[in-house]
């Protein structure tokens, strides 16, 4: 095989003919699964900065003051999320083995647990009473801790809703016969994102608001 160099010479290659027949031929030259995985990781790393910023704001505003939060409810919510993530991984494992029905079921139960979690946060929001002891009393979200509490849990719920939409879309695609043992990136990706949202709860929101 001889290799002749191309020095910047004129006229350069006019390659339209090759381009036309080769359309899409380059798609697989790159490590597409690796590209997909890396992008998701970079996105999650970037998104975690948003949670870090909110956590920093919590300490800046309220120091290490504890708020009057419902810790038992918080623990139950944490367990619900963990179960939901575990089910997500069950779905990934199932589709890798070609078990479509189990994958769909696992994703749907995981989504249901997500909905229950959001309802639990709703209960916490409606019963929070951070400012009631102040004179004059202020609304819960107007206290320094309350500001951080509503902003952080709200941010988390927002991410959870996006994950929920994704889980349902993927479950629907599974129902329509997409994905399989050799092609499960869609399922893997949404489950990984769902777990990321759980990890943000577990590593940032829950300790910073409930445990401190």
């Amino acid at each position: 095989m001889t290799t002749m160099p191309i020095v910047a010479a004129e006229p350069a290659l006019h390659v339209d003919a090759h381009a036309a027949e080769g359309h899409g031929a380059h798609e697989d030259e790159h490590d597409r699964p690796g590209i997909n995985r890396m992008g998701l990781w970079v996105f999650m790393a970037s998104e975690s900065c948003l949670f870090i910023a909110m956590a920093a704001a919590r300490f800046y505003l309220a120091g290490t003051t504890k708020g009057d939060v419902n810790l038992p409810l918080g623990i139950v919510l944490t367990l619900i999320l963990l179960t939901s993530s575990w089910l997500g991984y069950q779905a990934t494992g199932a589709i890798k083995l070609g078990n479509r029905r189990k994958a769909i079921t696992a994703l749907l139960i995981a989504s249901l647990l997500g909905v229950i979690f959001i309802a639990g946060v709703g209960v916490e929001w409606s019963t929070a009473a951070f400012g009631k002891d102040l004179v004059p009393p202020v609304s819960p979200q107007a206290t320094p801790f309350g500001t951080a509490f509503f902003a952080m849990t709200g941010l988390h719920v927002f991410h959870l809703i996006t994950g929920l939409v994704g889980l349902l879309l993927i479950a629907n695609l599974l129902r329509k016969g997409q994905f399989g043992p050799g092609d499960h990136w869609g399922v893997t990706a949404i489950v990984r994102y769902w777990t990321f949202v759980d990890v943000m709860w577990l590593a940032v929101v829950f300790p910073v608001l409930y445990l401190l």
Partner: protein, 641 residues
């Protein structure tokens, strides 16, 4: 005839109106989406016992204006609706729902919808931001007319503040996205030998979020505009007119666009390089975009967070920045934690483009390539620990002053290395003084002044006097116009033949350069003097003893503005005149990959994946070429031109 050239000369067959269907549909969807969001917001208000909408309310402290809640939720629904209307319904959402996707047209109409070709997206960014640059420049002209004499009545103080705020954020958006979005998208994949970006569809999404930003900034005028500058500090930004929320929402969307773009560049450069394109052979412009992409991906979140906090204070009654326990300094910390690294998002690709042009036009290898790369990485590493030098007079704990002085001065070391590379490249070179080269040399000169005057702003004792004066205005215009925008023009003149297949007039280009260079310096150099003599920033009037210098600055500024008209004429002449010369594949005799394919490049960029065998800057060394091709289907025979 290549497809991109077809985009410049509309083929007669599809009617002109059909090309605008996606955008019109997007606008219609956005209005419907806004309506849905607004109705939901009113429903929530009714459910909580409040009045659905009270148009006559005042923004008194402690009340939550219903208009702002309705607009915010409407906006949140309008953005995805717009995206679906403009083309993502067909290319993406249908796929998510399990239906067959629709493809995007391949003729000129692809420039007006969600095309996934990085070259189309690059040109979409470029044309959008050239327009934004010119519009925001008109804002600057209005401000200079107002400031041409003290106590001028040309603009009211309120209108002045609003124009100043618009000029600021519009130019910041140009600085963030004009280089990365247009030249980054167009040339990074070609320069690393890839067919496209890693995520073409995400790339289209990044671009189509930009019109949302621009339209929202203009729509904010319907809600009273905003007058808090591009920095939008609370408590003012929590208490001013409702137009502020449009600013916050728009810039959060812009941040999202920037983050998606950053992720795309990071993965593209890591994963999509052609065989043989080792890290030591990556062109310096690609390195600079890669470095800036890390800043965009990770720091932009902090800007989004701070804008979200302001928004929450306004629409749900949290107290991040006002009321008892609120802390306005928190905003300054989170804001500058992004916005200082942001200046490196502006200027690193500027450095990269200038070094690229300097090397090709000096006909020499890039001097100290590895040191320049190390400097980019060093700047990225250090950019996160210098932010509080913007806050020396903010009342933050004085224990922080010294450390931030030291880190800020340390970051000038990697910046100096980039200068070393620029000067060493030009030194003893056979300079080819084309228009792009003149702009690159002008960049080097201007940025030196910008950098050296920065030292006085990094030093606490001098900054205490200089803070919020025109010294600061002059400093950052020297770094951003004198630096990045000059580099942007260098890149534009350098790459325009490649993107369009047409040459720009060298004569008009040189006229453009000399007008811009001279009037830029006569505009901004006197501002240092005005600042030292007590002229304040962001104010529609000043003391009368500064009248002469301000009149001089205003006249210079108008002349600087007129230099952009030369640029516009040059571009329009080149695009639409039959006599404008066509560009060959490699008019600059440069070595990097984009010059090895036709002008404009074919849809697939390369006939086959290029194999990189040498340095991109091996001028005069007699060494190996940068890359060779093997034509697909001719396995035994490698072809060269």
């Amino acid at each position: 005839m290549t497809a991109a050239a077809a985009g410049l000369r509309p083929a007669p067959r599809p009617s002109v109106i059909s090309g605008f269907v996606p955008i019109l549909r997007g606008l219609l969807f956005a209005v419907i989406g806004f309506g849905i969001g607004a109705v939901i917001a009113m429903g929530i208000r009714l459910a909580t016992g409040a009045q659905a909408w009270n148009p006559n309310e005042t923004s008194a402290v402690g009340t939550i204006p219903s208009t702002e809640q309705i607009v915010t939720l409407g906006f949140i629904f309008a953005v995805p609706a717009w995206l679906m209307g403009v083309g993502f319904w067909g290319t993406t959402v249908r796929q998510w729902l399990g239906y067959k996707t629709n493809s995007v047209p391949t003729d000129w109409r692809r420039y007006l919808t969600t095309s996934e070709d990085h070259k189309v997206i690059g040109l979409q960014y470029l044309s959008t931001f050239v327009v934004v640059l010119l519009v925001a420049g008109v804002g600057a002209m209005l401000m200079r007319i107002q400031l041409s004499q003290p106590a001028n009545q040309f603009l009211s103080p309120d209108v002045y503040n609003r124009i100043m705020s618009f000029h600021g954020i519009a130019m910041v958006s140009v600085a963030v996205a004009a280089v990365m979005g247009s030249f980054g998208n167009y040339f990074v994949p070609i320069m690393i030998g890839a067919r496209d970006m890693a995520y073409p569809r995400l790339n289209a999404l990044s671009f189509w979020l930009v019109p949302v930003v621009i339209v929202s900034l203009f729509l904010s005028e319907l809600l009273g505009g905003w007058d808090s500058g591009w920095t939008a500090y609370p408590p003012l930004s929590v208490r001013n007119a409702a137009g502020q929320i449009m600013f916050n929402l728009a810039i959060i969307v812009f941040g999202l666009s920037s983050i998606f773009g950053g992720i795309n560049f990071i993965v593209t450069v890591i994963k999509m390089r052609a065989p043989g394109m080792t890290w030591g052979r990556v062109p310096i412009f690609v390195w600079s975009v890669f470095a800036a992409a890390f800043l965009a991906t990770f720091f932009t979140q902090f800007f989004a967070a701070s804008l979200t906090m302001v928004l929450l204070d306004r629409v749900v009654g949290t107290n991040f920045f006002i009321g008892q326990g609120g802390a306005p300094l928190l905003y300054e910390h989170t804001f500058w934690f992004y916005s200082h690294p942001a200046v490196y998002i502006f200027v690193l690709p500027g450095f990269g483009m200038a070094l690229e042009v300097l090397a090709h036009m000096s006909r020499k290898p890039l001097f100290a390539y590895r040191w320049a790369v190390a400097a980019f990485i060093g700047i990225v590493g250090m950019s996160g620990i210098v932010w509080a030098h913007h806050m020396f007079v903010s009342g933050m704990p004085s224990a922080l002053l010294g450390p931030f002085l030291v880190t800020t001065e340390l970051i000038s070391i990697p910046t100096g290395l980039i200068f070393l590379s620029a000067l060493g490249t030009v030194w003893m070179g056979r300079l080819w003084l084309t228009t792009p080269m003149l702009f690159a040399l002008g960049f080097t000169f201007n940025f030196l002044i910008g950098g050296v005057t920065g030292i006085f702003l990094a030093d606490v004792p001098t900054d205490i006097s200089l803070h919020d004066t025109y010294f600061v205005v002059a400093h950052f215009h020297y770094t951003i116009i004198g630096g990045e925008i000059f580099a942007l023009f260098a890149a534009f003149y350098f790459w325009f033949p490649k993107m369009t297949g047409r040459m720009l007039s060298e004569r008009l280009g040189k006229l453009n350069f000399w007008m811009m260079f001279i009037f830029f310096n006569t505009t901004f150099l006197p501002m240092f003097w005005a600042g030292l003599h007590g002229m304040n920033r962001r104010i529609a009037t000043y003391q009368s003893d500064l009248a002469n210098v301000n009149l001089f600055i205003s006249i210079s500024a108008l002349l600087l503005g007129s230099s952009f008209l030369v640029f516009v004429i040059n571009v329009l002449y080149s695009l639409f005149s039959k006599r404008a010369p066509r560009a060959s594949a490699n008019p600059w005799k440069a070595r990097t990959l984009e010059w090895l394919v036709s002008s404009p490049p074919p849809v697939e960029n390369f006939p086959s994946t290029p194999i990189v065998v040498g340095s991109p800057y091996g001028y005069g060394t007699g060494g190996r070429p940068h890359a060779v091709f093997s034509i697909a289907g001719a396995s035994d025979e490698e072809v060269s031109a």
